[in-house]
Symmetry: C2
């Protein structure tokens, strides 16, 4: 290792990368725009999508020795409970015992990471807003409680999120490609509280989904028995955030679209009207790093480098995998920072670009396809083949969530499987296919 | 009409839109970062791709009564002279007498537009750099020679180019989609001077092209007999801008790749090493406009709304067409600015998005395909069909350059024609096709 590291952003990616860098021997300073998340009252301010730790995030947290310590604040989810008008369906995530997700509150995870970083000697500067980045030194100018400060470092890590100030300043005068795209849907957070008897109001150990083409809800269980739900709706229209501004309309909408939420969330109307709708953005950019001739550099990680829609549950997991890959690259080239950063970008960017596309596609799938009989037949066939050939045939979701196969390779493999499945489907006569669909529909009605 | 208009940017799009707005009765003020282009010595500073006025630009200039006045500074180009290692080829642009382009220097055109705007009462504020835009008023903050000023207006037009400050400030906190992409090639401007005898060194009335997959030159004739050439090269590599830094290497490169330029540009090496390489960027964004409840608004036009690569020669022409369409939309809804701006965006954005893709594709065509026998056969067939059925069959280039058919419709029509041509090609046997290709190759070698 060599020199000092400066991390911008003390969110999940920033605090985990500070932990990694400190373990590698760097003196690390972190600049964060907001205040210390451990200050009283901060937890309640959160307006964030609930998090599901999957394999990539688990591997990174295990590498830095934090996974076991997080056990008290995580809840394992062994599958998905789908809320349909005619009742619930349980879909297990996978075959193996370890194919589970861990639900965790962003705040709890963030505090654990900041605590661990401080234990390793990392210095956090709260309330520091970045106003300039000079990639030639590199140096970061920030306005803190005592006015403007300039921080120099050998390695600057921009972990300051989808609207990264480091990214914006880093690109000045460079040929930077940037693709920023907002979804026409947004989200609000709702809390499904514990029952009056102190017990959870619904099956605890699963992710809950209310699918639909005009609105979606996803809820994660919390350690205290409550669930954190996120309602996704179009911004526009009478049944979107723009139209749902009157209590009567909101109640009517939830009663019609998500009837069981009225019992699960007694104050659903008040919560919905109280909370602000937030946006969903995809960001792809390049380059992710710059380097100086004397071996210093700046690099982006996490949402600053690749913000994705949350519909594959991979935002945090991809960010944690970034931290792990960056650490490996720094370890492999301990005396050549520019090449280490180039290796990191080359190893990650093609795969997170694929993740961005997959996350867009999964939105369409959740919204439109969960009701398509042909789609469901293919999903069932996909899972059936996985059961028959657990190693040779692995569904895309399983590859993404329960392995660390790079995203791009996971997609290539799923495409090869899809072509086989498509070929098999095409080989069926129209009559046989229609029969399959009829039988599937019959089973759905009957159950 | 109603209220005051403020235009940001006094380049081609900004000064033409100022002319249109003044003709419609708006009091107009223009803020421009640079100084007055009419000041002594400014003309020589230009570092810009030479311009070819085609039908869309011609129509707009004719609408404001400027076309005839520009005749002394424009040079008609009736076709393309292709410089190949074995000699020159002349390709006429089209069949009709009016299928020509007009070469013009950016500086001359800009001065004519600023003069005309001033004649109509437009006020130009030179040396004003925009630092903020408040879309709620709307108001524009700028730093000028006398310090910071705030300009309010009923209509603000952002015509400040591919790296538009208005666009950057307008989007704050909005769900703005932005796609910014740099080409891995850049460009430098070179001047082909008149000969020592005062006469042009090459055929005057055409656009000159030196095609190639590792470098391109495009040159436009100027009214004084010189030509303005633009050399496009990759940034990276020994034969790119990064590698061509020594006089001997530059001379060797031009001698090998563009041998006749050594006689056309006696000081080609000095010019090449003296000039900075500039970048090429594609920008697509949405929305293009915002509006207030009391009927004011901000709108982007030209490169600020849609920067495209120059390989279809449509950057300026699309910007001028914007000005014309915006004027038409304002005329159709004289008392409803928000709906006029919405109508403008709806009328233009889908088409300039298509233009961005076409301009990318034309780069690949110029670079790679001009040597592909199959591609040349199809091009020839395309032109032959146009000769046979001048109205029913029109090549894409002709639709883009010599008509005002909206870009998206032009592409749809060309795709239909391509499918017919593809079907016809597929119907040929392999042998017949091979024969065609052999004959074409034979002709090229023979000529």
């Amino acid at each position: 290792m060599s020199g000092h590291a400066l991390v911008v952003g003390a969110g999940l990616a920033g605090s985990l990368t500070a932990v990694y860098l400190a373990r590698r021997g760097y003196p690390v300073r972190v600049l964060e725009r907001r205040g210390d998340p451990r200050a009283p009252g901060v937890r309640e301010e959160g307006r964030s999508i609930n998090l599901g730790l999957s394999q990539r995030g688990i591997v990174a947290l295990r590498e830095v020795g934090l996974l076991e310590r997080l056990a008290p604040v995580t809840v394992p989810m062994r599958g998905r409970v789908v809320h349909l008008p005619d009742g619930l369906r349980f879909q297990p995530y996978g075959l193996a015992e370890d194919q589970i997700l861990h639900s965790v509150l962003r705040h709890d995870l963030n505090v654990a990471l900041v605590d661990e970083a401080e234990r390793l000697g990392v210095e956090f500067c709260w309330g520091h807003r970045v106003t300039a980045v000079d990639r030639a030194k590199p140096a970061v100018t920030a306005i803190g409680p005592d006015g403007e400060e300039v921080h120099t470092a050998d390695l600057v890590v921009g972990a300051d999120g989808a609207f990264s100030a480091v990214r914006a300043h880093l690109g000045r005068g460079l040929r930077v490609d940037l693709h920023q795209e907002f979804l026409e849907w947004g989200y609000k957070e709702l809390l499904i509280p514990v029952g009056d008897d102190g017990r959870p109001r619904t099956e605890l150990r699963a992710l809950h989904v209310w699918p639909g083409d005009d609105g979606l809800i996803v809820a994660h269980p919390n350690a205290d028995g409550s669930l954190t739900a996120t309602v996704f709706l179009p911004f526009a229209g009478d049944n979107g955030f723009a139209g749902l501004t009157e209590p009567a309309k909101v109640r009517e909408f939830f009663a019609r679209r998500f009837p069981d939420t009225l019992t699960l969330i007694p104050d659903v109307v008040e919560q919905f009207l109280d909370h602000e709708a937030a946006s969903l953005v995809t960001v792809r950019t390049s380059p992710w790093h710059t380097a100086t001739e004397d071996g210093r550099g700046v690099v982006l990680i996490g949402d600053a480098a690749h913000a994705v829609y949350p519909f594959f549950g991979q935002g945090m997991n991809a960010a944690f995998e970034d931290c792990s890959v960056l650490d490996r690259c720094l370890g492999e080239r301990p005396h050549d920072l520019p090449r280490a950063l180039a290796a990191f970008e080359a190893a990650r960017r093609p795969h997170t670009d694929v993740l961005a596309e997959l996350s867009k596609r999964n939105f369409v799938e959740l919204r439109d396809k969960l009701r398509s009989p042909l789609f469901l037949v293919r999903k069932k066939a996909d899972l059936a083949l996985h059961r028959l050939f657990p190693d040779a045939w692995v569904p895309l979701y399983t590859l993404i969530a329960h392995t660390t196969v790079p995203y791009g390779e996971a997609l290539d493999r799923a495409r090869r499987q899809d072509r086989l499945l498509g070929g098999a489907a095409a080989a069926l006569t129209g009559a046989a296919l229609a029969g399959l669909i009829r039988r599937t529909r019959g089973r759905r009605r009957a159950s």
